[in-house]
Symmetry: C2
Subunit: 209 residues, 2 copies
C-alpha cells in the first residue's frame, strides 16, 4: 500500500501526521480490513505497533478517531484523483475508461484503506462523519453520471436510465476488492480496462459482428 | 423478509427449528446486518427477543452458532433457487436474465440475511464454515460461467474472458444491497431486468442504431 499520509483527512490538524501516527493508522487499517472495525480493539492496534495503549491514546482519543481520517480520506481522495485523471477534451467513452482505470489504480494503491472504507459503510459509528462522507460519495457518483449523460447527448452512449447505468458501473468496480488478488496475473487497471470494454460493447454478439 | 425457516442450514438438527430459535435467528440477522457481526453481543440479541441470555444459550451455544445457519443457508439457498429458476430449454440470454432476476428476488425475500452473508465474508470466524460456504459460492459462480460459455458457443454472446464477464455480472448484482431501497419505485427484479439489458446490449450506441 502507498503512503497513507498522501490521502489522510486529518481535520483540524496543525501539521502533517507524525511517523507514529502514520504507523498506528497503517496497522489499524490492515486490522480493520481483515477483522472488521468492531472486531479490532485499541489493545490489538497498540500490540501490532509494539506500543502501549497509553502511547496510542496519546495520539488518538479512541478507535473512531483512527477510523475517521482513513474513511474520509479515502472517499475524498478517490474522487479527487479520478476527477483529475479524466481528460477534459476526450470523448465520453474515453472518459468512462479513465474513470474505471483510475479508480482501479487507486484501489490498488490503497487496498486496505479502500476495503475499510467500503466495509464500514453499514456500521460507521458517527453520523456526522458519515454525512460528510456521503457528500464526497455523491460528488463521485455525480461525476460518473455526468460522463454518461455527456455520452447520451453526444450520441456515444444509448442509456435509458443514467442512475441505473451508474450503479451497474460502480457495482462492477466496487465489488473488485472482494475478489481481486494482488498476486494475480492482471493489475487492477487492466481488469478495469476489460470491464470498460464489456460495459460499452455489451456481452451480446452484434448482428453480423 | 420471508420466513427464514425455508432457507436455514441447521446442520445435524433433529427437526425443524422451534419458534423461539426462529425468533432468535431473525432478530440476530437484522442486528448483524445493521451493526456488523462483531458489533452485536449475545446480550443484544437476547434483549431484542425479550428473553434472558440463559434462554438464548439454551438454544445456541454461542454467536457463531447463530451466524452459521444464516450464512450457510443463504449461500446454498441462493444457488438452489437460481438454479431452479433457469429454464433449461431457453437461449443463453434468457438464462442470464433468469439468473439476474431470480437472484434479485431472492435478495428481496431475504434482504437482511443476504446482507449478513455478504458482509461477514471478510470476517467469518470459523474456517470450516467458510470452506463449505465457498463450495456453494463456487457452484453458483460456475452456474453463471456455464450460461456465459453456452452463449459464446451458440454465438449469442461475444466474450473474451468468461471469468471477467462473470465478475462483472456478479459485481452489479452483489452491490445492489448497498444501495437498494425496498421503498423505492422499482422491485429488485425490475432493476435486475434493466441490468440484464445493459449488460447484454452494452452502454455504447450501436452504429446506425
Amino acid at each position: 500500500m502507498k503512503n497513507l499520509a498522501d490521502i489522510l483527512d486529518l481535520e483540524g490538524a496543525a501539521g502533517p501526521p507524525t511517523e507514529r501516527m502514520l504507523q498506528i493508522l497503517t496497522e489499524a487499517c490492515r486490522l480493520f480490513a481483515t477483522r472488521g472495525f468492531d472486531g479490532v480493539s485499541v489493545r490489538d492496534i497498540a500490540q501490532e505497533c509494539g506500543i502501549s495503549k497509553a502511547t496510542l491514546y496519546h495520539h488518538f482519543p479512541d478507535k473512531d478517531a483512527i477510523l475517521r481520517p482513513l474513511v474520509m480520506g479515502i472517499t475524498r481522495s478517490l474522487h479527487q484523483r479520478v476527477l483529475g485523471a479524466i481528460p477534459s477534451g476526450a470523448d465520453p467513452a474515453e472518459k468512462l475508461r479513465a474513470f474505471l482505470t483510475e479508480s482501479a489504480r487507486f484501489f490498488e494503491d490503497y487496498r486496505w484503506a479502500f476495503i475499510v472504507s467500503s466495509t464500514v459503510f453499514w456500521t460507521d459509528p458517527q453520523a456526522r462523519q458519515r454525512r460528510q462522507r456521503i457528500e464526497w460519495r455523491d460528488r463521485h457518483e455525480a461525476l460518473l453520471r455526468g460522463i454518461l449523460e455527456e455520452g447520451v447527448r453526444s450520441g456515444a452512449f444509448r442509456i435509458a436510465d443514467i442512475g441505473m447505468a451508474g450503479r451497474l458501473v460502480l457495482g462492477a468496480l466496487n465489488w473488485m476488492p472482494k475478489w481481486y488478488d494482488p498476486k494475480g496475473p492482471l493489475p487492477a487497471s487492466a481488469i478495469a480496462e476489460q470491464f470498460h470494454g464489456m460495459l460499452v460493447a455489451g456481452l451480446g454478439a452484434k448482428p453480423g459482428g
